[in-house]
């Protein structure tokens, strides 16, 4: 057994070094954890946007809103008379796993004025969740005359 103070002094001198290493490792761990969580949320949002595009296509092809089942052409009369319940029955939010808001604005193409504004919403839009929106154009058959409308679809995830 040695009677000097090398071992004790060595341990105390390395404490600051150990602290620096610990801080560095902690910082790196936090940044990696943040990156992993951020990557997951990015993947989720990309999936939501893809679902929004798909759902928008389903709405465009909806037979509830068209006379002859032609995709992308809605019936003006049906838009005037259709209740939200009929649409919600065709597109069941629970089975789809999404909440949605669908808005159709029929335009006077000469002036740009909105002549019919039809909106259906499956539930209140949550403030804390990500939303994906896709705007599109559709034709509207008004007694044999083809007009145009803007279709806006907004979706969000709902718990099963």
């Amino acid at each position: 057994m040695r009677a000097d103070n090398i071992g004790i002094a060595g341990a105390f001198e390395e404490l600051p070094t150990l602290m620096v290493v610990l801080v560095a490792v902690s910082l790196f761990s936090v940044s990696v954890a943040h990156a992993v969580l951020s990557f997951d949320s990015t993947e989720d949002y990309s999936g939501l946007r893809e679902d929004c595009l798909t759902f928008s296509g389903m709405v465009r092809a909806s037979e509830t809103l068209s006379d002859d089942g032609k995709p992308g052409v809605f019936s003006h009369n049906k838009l005037q008379n259709l209740t939200g319940e009929d649409f919600l029955r065709e597109f069941n939010a629970t089975s789809l796993g999404i909440g949605y808001r669908v808005s159709v604005q029929c335009l006077d193409t000469g002036t740009g004025n909105i002549i019919l504004d039809w909106t259906v919403q499956s539930a209140d839009i949550p403030k804390s969740l990500d939303l994906a929106t896709f705007s599109s154009c559709i034709g509207v058959d008004n007694n044999g005359i083809r007009e145009a409308a803007r279709l806006t679809v907004t979706i969000w995830r709902v718990d099963a």
Binding site: D4, N5, I6, A9, G10, E13, E14, P16, T17, L18, V20, V21, V23, A24, V25, L27, F28, V30, S31, V32, H34, A35, S38, F39, T42, Y45, S46, R49, E50, L53, R60, G72, V73, L107, D108, T109, G110, T111, G112, F134, S135, S136, C137, I138, G139, I145, R146, E147, A148, R150
Partner: protein, 166 residues
């Protein structure tokens, strides 16, 4: 003597630790920076491409109210204008109809986007901001349709609709 050697070793360890921390900080910055960058370009392009397809299908089918209270679709009007140009005939009627098509498209298109319509390889060109095909922006989406004019009236008329983000 031994005491001095021990102190020097600790200083070397501290230098190594600071070097290690510097590397860790740089690595953390790179990871945080790359995680904050969200590459949506392919999704954005898919959405714009889908929108441009829907826009063209809708615009081309819209019935325009003519002066004599008859209705013709935009694609029919463009086809007739191209056929008239093939025969060397130009009338003021088509200028009025082109202005109507431009107004219809402007009222229909989503805010923040612009469009142009080209028919018959540019012989008819309708746009609010671009004077000709060459001046269209590079990030445009294009959709084309052809209209069969009928027997003895020449080949199909090609209509191209360009859509881009302003």
């Amino acid at each position: 003597m031994r005491h001095r050697i021990s102190g020097s070793a600790a200083q070397v360890a501290m230098v190594d630790a600071i070097l290690f921390m510097t590397i860790m900080l740089v690595a953390s910055a790179v990871i945080l920076g790359s995680s904050g960058y969200r590459d949506n370009s392919s999704e954005d392009f898919a959405a714009i491409q889908q929108y441009s397809t829907d826009f063209m299908e809708t615009l081309m089918a819209v019935d325009l109210n003519q002066a004599n209270c008859s209705f013709r679709s935009v694609s029919q009007v463009l086809c007739d204008e191209c056929l008239a140009l093939r025969q060397g005939v130009t009338t003021e009627e088509y200028e009025t109809m082109n202005a109507l098509i431009l107004a219809t498209g402007r009222n229909l298109i989503r805010p923040g986007m612009d469009f142009a319509v080209s028919c018959g390889m540019g012989s008819v060109f309708i746009s609010g901001n671009a004077p000709d095909l060459d001046s269209l922006p590079g990030n445009r989406c294009a959709n084309m349709m052809t209209v069969y004019p009928g027997e003895g009236l020449g080949g199909d008329v090609a209509i191209t609709v360009f859509v881009w983000v302003v």
